[in-house]
């Protein structure tokens, strides 16, 4: 990639992102516009995928809300994503946890990571 393109990407990449990985449970604070009003909404769930680099990096958060699976994809560097809080560290042996979509209940949980 051209150096100048990289320079521009640097300016649009967020650096204060907490360390989080696939299988972690995160709470994402999203800025939402409703007409003229702005408010923050939190979305909590399991990170099942993380892809891309620089300003193109996104991650997918899955949660089961009222029995219905909901997945949202957030760009890591978007100004609309105000804060990412890791609430639980998970453990996964693969990079994409798409298999969780087919599972329900206890089987859909990721193992907790021992933080020693």
């Amino acid at each position: 990639m051209n150096d100048r393109v990289r320079e521009i990407e640097r300016g649009h990449t967020r650096e204060d992102v907490p360390e989080f990985a696939v299988s972690d449970t995160v709470r994402v604070h999203v800025r939402i516009r409703e007409g003229d009003k702005e408010r923050t909404q939190a979305f909590e769930g399991t990170v099942i995928a993380r892809q891309g680099t620089g300003p193109n990096e996104t991650f997918t958060v899955r949660r089961v809300a009222q029995g219905i699976g909901v997945e949202r994809v957030f760009p890591v560097s978007s100004p609309n994503v105000q804060q990412i809080v890791v609430t639980r560290h998970g453990k996964a042996r693969r990079a994409k946890l798409y298999y969780l979509r087919k599972r329900t209940g206890k089987a859909a949980k990721t193992k907790a990571r021992d933080l020693r």
């Binding site: 990639m1 051209n2 100048r4 393109v5 521009i8 990407e9 649009h12 800025r31 516009r33 620089g54 300003p55 193109n56 760009p75 560097s77 978007s78 100004p79 609309n80």
Partner: protein, 211 residues
């Protein structure tokens, strides 16, 4: 005023606006260019400015072209291009043209040379539909019938058939300028632009009148 510049495609990326919108952009090194000749009605029968972009070695050019640069009193440039203008009197030979002829939010046309695709079939080249892949079908990516019968007993001129694709001059109209950085001669334009990275581009203000 007519704004035009010669540049080079550096690549594409994504930038975020304040409100969180992600904008796909092409990064262009635009200029600096130098005016090498001014064409006037009296002398040339039309009005235009000729500008050069990019440094090059003397050896890479022929003597006649070098003579042109010597006459203009500028160092040899890799690309020379003329742009029609209404006011050639405003320009003088040796004058430098920089990205600041454009401003944020302005609508521009970008011309480039598209990537050569080689000899391509009708599906890719003209977007014709394909046949189904299964159920005994043997017509997968063929063009189908290419004409009628005894009348006209020939194939119409211009019939869309396989052939060479790409590698031509393409202009993308009405792209908006996202950012202008005159310090690094960088221009960010919303959307894609013809050609490969490091390909040459001509950027002018939009021909179509702004709405």
């Amino acid at each position: 005023m007519m704004a035009a510049i010669i540049g080079r495609k550096l690549g594409m990326t994504r930038v975020f606006k304040e409100d969180g919108t992600a904008v796909p952009v092409t990064v262009i090194e635009a200029g600096p260019c130098v005016i090498t000749q001014v064409r006037t009605n009296e002398i040339d029968g039309y009005e235009a400015v000729q500008m050069g972009y990019g440094a090059t070695r003397k050896k890479a050019l022929t003597k006649p072209v070098l003579g042109q640069f010597a006459k203009a009193g500028v160092t040899p440039r890799r690309r020379l291009k003329e742009f029609r203008v209404d006011n050639p009197g405003d320009y003088e030979v040796g004058q430098e043209i920089k990205v600041d002829v454009f401003e944020e939010g302005q609508i521009v046309d970008v011309t480039g040379w598209s990537k050569g695709r080689g000899f391509q079939g009708v599906t890719k080249r003209h977007g014709m539909s394909t046949g189904r892949q299964t159920h005994g079908n043997r017509n997968h990516r063929k063009p189908g019938s290419i004409g009628q019968s005894a009348t006209p007993a020939r194939v119409w001129k211009g019939k869309k058939l396989p052939g060479r694709m790409g590698g031509g001059r393409v202009t993308i109209k009405d792209l908006s300028v996202v950012q202008v950085d005159s310090e690094t001669n960088t221009l960010l334009v919303r959307g894609a632009v013809p050609g490969a990275s490091n390909g040459y581009l001509l950027i002018t203000n939009a021909k179509r009148a702004a709405k």
